[in-house]
Amino acid sequence: MDIQVLRSYFPLFQTAAGLTVRLGAEGIFLALLVGLICAAVRYWKIPVFCQIASCYIEISRNTPLLIQLFFIYYGLPKVGIRTSPEICGVAGLAFLGGGYMAEAFRSGLEAVDSVQKESAFSLGLSKNQALLHVILPQAVSVSIPAILANVIFLLKETSVFSAVSLMDLMFTAKDLIGLYYSTTESLFLLVFFYLMILLPVSLLGTWVERRLRYAGFGT
């Protein structure tokens, strides 16, 4: 491994890592939003929307991100929907992640015993009060480990962004390998930067999971 080469490549990978983190954060934020909406729609069993959400969750969870991106980036322009690579990447991540996040929220909501809701009502809490003070705190504490696992999963999935010509870490590594045949240095930096991005989130996940006291009652 050549230190000089490492030093000259470092800024390139830094820029690329910035792009990965930024698009990842945007995509994850949107995914949380989509997931929340889907979970809410299914929780209240709003007709029609509920079925649409269920279909969407099955589709997004059972197709790979790479295929979704190819369809959005190369397929959709043929019917007049044109997007920039960045929007395409974020949209793809939100589409994929929305389904996973919805399932995480749902598992949290389902974990709350119906006795809790009934007791809240019998104590005179309104529907909104019961949701805000009784159901959500318990549901969120149950679903947080799953949400963090999804965040890691989605950050890892950003590695396919190079397929829609976004200059992320994978793209940079492949480019440098192809141009200068500097395989060792490129791969070293690639692993290093992914570790820098993913390890903190992964450690946070382990820490939260260990010290999260489930807000469940009586268990």
Partner: protein
Amino acid sequence: MPDLGLEVLWKGRNFVRLLGGLWTALRISLLAVSISIPLGMLLGMLMTRNNLVLVVLTRFYLEFIRVMPQMVLLFLVFFGTTRWFGWNLDGELSSVIVFSLWGTAEMGDLVRGALISIPAQQTESAAALGMTRPQILRHIVLPQTLRRLIPLSINLITRMIKTTSLVLMIGVVEMLKVSQQIIEANRMSSPNAAFGVYLTVFLLYFLACWPISLLSKTLEKRWS
């Protein structure tokens, strides 16, 4: 009705070629799954041992494999090891290696989770009732572990199939590559082919994964 580029699929053997590409992806993932299930069981059992060296080693392996994107692992094996060790790997073999390594880690974690989820009272009570160790394993531990494990391992298969779409990036001719070829070849005659062909690929992936994940969900619900 605009031209959606679906007619390309019925030209010549295009659709059969697409299915051939899907088969390549399925073959890689089935091969990797059948390697990683036994190895993962071994890893999971090793991880529950109280041996510090073993725990540190397996933990390191597990964390590294699980925190790295599978694309990075593919690059490390396909571009890295071939350079460092001077051997020759084609794309398909590299992907089988990577997915087996990854599947072993995932499976190992599942097995470990299933094993430690059985409370100690169960084995202790069985021992108190005079059962021998093999009997305890056969009648108490295994049935509970398997019930927890089977739906999760089936789920691993769908994750494996979805991940095989990445092998396009190291030059394996699978469904996505075949569809690129089809679209390129018909650029003049049907310029909109990209929409129809990629939509078909999307649906084919869904049709390959959906039944398997439904099965896993049903089993999980029935056995929980």
